[in-house]
């Protein structure tokens, strides 16, 4: 039983209008893994999920879900999968309880109120079980959609942008939910635009752009190579040159001499920055302000496809 949770080979999707949304995608996701699909708008993240789940027909290629072919054995394959789509779509007049129970039945499972109770409690929806969906807030609706996806006890969960439109507190709550599911051994595939989010949650990251998987690696090694940060120290008084005492930090002075830029890696983190600030202080340089900048996904993609802008 060492089959991957998801195994994708040569998957392609060309829409009727000729747009190639998936281009020969090969991907393997292990059991119990948390996998982040990272890519900008229109990269093909949603399309990839839709093709695997049966919402969109593939143009070519195959996928296996826990060893079951996604078309030929669609029942076994889909039984394993829970899907939380990107858009919030719920029936207005159903109650939380009724809609979750419906989802369980739809996936061919016998009624099990105890399981539904557990799912709703885990998602802090138990108090709302008798509320109509239209009376819930957006964040609650998203959790209802997760509850619906978990109602049939899937062992693979697709979360298409789980934290889009969700406030900071709820985002943390979402991360907790995902961690709990990980502990239960659920494989999770999530999509995100944010490197930070991928870093927070995922074991591995697949970077996708223009329908192509550009690289797949562990979150750590991806952050090593891509997580460039820049610290800008705005100076109270302009300098002519970088002081000798700060030579080791590889600083660059802006042309007007009003700011120092420090490039460092995401993984070096706080220590490097603290060291630098102490050194700046002891060099007697007074600061006006500080600013940090993280490489955005777009910059990352530019650097990945050859970096000539």
């Amino acid at each position: 039983m060492n089959l991957p949770a998801i195994d994708i080979q040569g998957l392609e999707k060309t829409f009727d209008n000729g747009l190639r949304a998936l281009d020969a995608v090969d991907l393997s996701i292990g059991r119990g893994e948390i996998f982040a699909l990272l890519g900008p708008n229109g990269a093909g993240k949603t399309t990839l999920i839709k093709v695997i789940c049966g919402l969109t027909e593939a143009s070519a290629g195959d996928a296996w879900v826990a060893g079951h072919h996604f078309r030929r054995e669609f029942r076994q394959a889909r039984m394993r999968i829970g899907l939380v789509p990107q858009e919030l779509t719920t029936d207005a007049f159903e109650t939380v309880w009724a809609t979750t129970r419906f989802s369980r039945g739809l996936f061919g499972r016998r009624r099990d109120p105890a399981h539904l109770e557990k799912v709703l409690k885990d998602l802090s929806l138990w108090d709302k079980r008798n509320s109509m969906l239209m009376t819930l807030s957006g964040g609650m609706k998203r959790r209802v959609m997760i509850a619906k996806a978990l109602a049939h006890e899937p062992d693979i969960l697709f979360l298409d942008e789980p934290t889009a439109g969700v406030d900071v507190e709820l985002r943390r709550g979402m991360w907790q939910v995902i961690n709990r599911l990980r502990e239960q051994g659920v494989t999770i595939v999530l999509t995100t635009h944010y490197l930070e989010e991928a870093e927070q949650m995922a074991d591995r990251v697949g970077v996708i752009n223009n329908g192509q998987i550009m690289r797949v690696e562990s979150t750590e090694s991806l952050m090593q190579s891509l997580g460039q940060k820049r610290l800008t120290l705005e100076l109270a008084a302009p300098l002519d040159a970088v002081p000798d005492t700060l030579e080791g930090y590889n600083l660059t002075l802006t042309d007007d001499g009003c700011a120092l830029n420090y490039h460092y890696n995401h993984c070096e983190g706080a220590e490097a920055v603290q060291g630098l600030l102490r050194a700046v202080d002891s060099a007697g340089i007074r600061l006006h302000d500080v600013d940090t900048h993280e490489s955005s996904l777009e910059e990352i993609f530019v650097s990945m496809v050859g970096g000539s802008t």
Partner: protein, 253 residues
């Protein structure tokens, strides 16, 4: 067969009716009662009997057919159109449910509703006019076959429609005229000879005639021809549904 799924969809659909019980049941009953008052008493005072049946009783089978057909179409078309419209269809498409199961559950629920409604209208009618049903088995057969066939037809419309206009245009432009011209309120014998012939291209004529025969043993066309017509229509609808699902037409991009 994924029976729990069929049950889940069926129960969901029936529950939806309960939430809108007034629109779903009361409005067809009221409109039928209005037909009785307007046609039954206004025209009935001029025409006392058709084929040996009092006019009020004569129009009952036609009125039931009228409701059965329009309600089957609107129930089934709305049931599948609405999830497409608001996006909740994603769940159905991602579920381990085959197309056969989708059709059984949606069409089954729509047909159940309209058949129950037909029986309610029958009961309502019996309050106004003395009724007799000479061939109850045939009556039920026509009721169920028509309910299923027109629910299938509505299901097709619901899948084809990509806006509300399309959803209502076919019932409005085709089904309603055909039912009104289908001998609901008159016997074909009351028409001029040329119209008696032309009317025979209207499939609704056969349904109303067969259904009326199951009540009073009077018919415009042979009851077996009526049965063949409804069966033919059923098979045609099934073929279209099969084609839709084979090609993923308008359900998947």
């Amino acid at each position: 067969m994924n029976w729990p799924a069929i049950r889940a969809i069926y129960v969901f659909e029936i529950a939806r009716t309960w939430r809108t019980i007034f629109q779903s049941v009361l409005s067809p009953i009221i409109s039928t009662a209005l037909y009785f008052v307007v046609f039954g008493s206004a025209i009935g005072s001029r025409i006392s009997e058709v084929d040996g049946v009092s006019y009020g009783a004569f129009i009952v089978p036609g009125l039931i057919m009228l409701s059965l057909m329009t309600q089957s179409i609107s129930n089934a078309s709305f049931a599948i159109y609405f999830p497409k419209f608001i996006g909740t269809i994603y769940e159905l498409l991602s579920a381990p449910v085959s197309y056969v199961e989708i059709v059984i559950s949606y069409v089954g629920a729509a047909a159940t509703k309209s058949v129950v409604l037909g029986l309610i209208i029958l009961a309502t009618a019996s309050v106004f006019v003395p009724l007799r049903i000479e061939h109850p088995a045939w009556m039920l057969l026509f009721l169920v076959l028509t309910g299923i066939t027109f629910s299938l037809f509505g299901f097709i419309i619901g899948i084809w429609a990509d806006n509300f206009e399309k959803l209502t245009i076919i019932p409005l432009l085709i089904v309603t005229p055909l039912t009104f011209l289908g001998g609901t309120f008159y016997s074909l014998k009351m028409l001029p000879p040329i119209w008696q012939k032309i009317t025979l291209v209207n499939p609704v004529v056969y349904l109303v005639s067969g259904f009326r025969w199951s009540f009073y043993s009077v018919a415009d066309v042979n009851v077996y021809i009526s049965l063949a017509m409804i069966t033919g229509f059923l098979v045609a609808c099934l073929a279209i549904v099969a084609w839709i699902f084979k090609t993923g037409y308008r359900l998947k991009s």
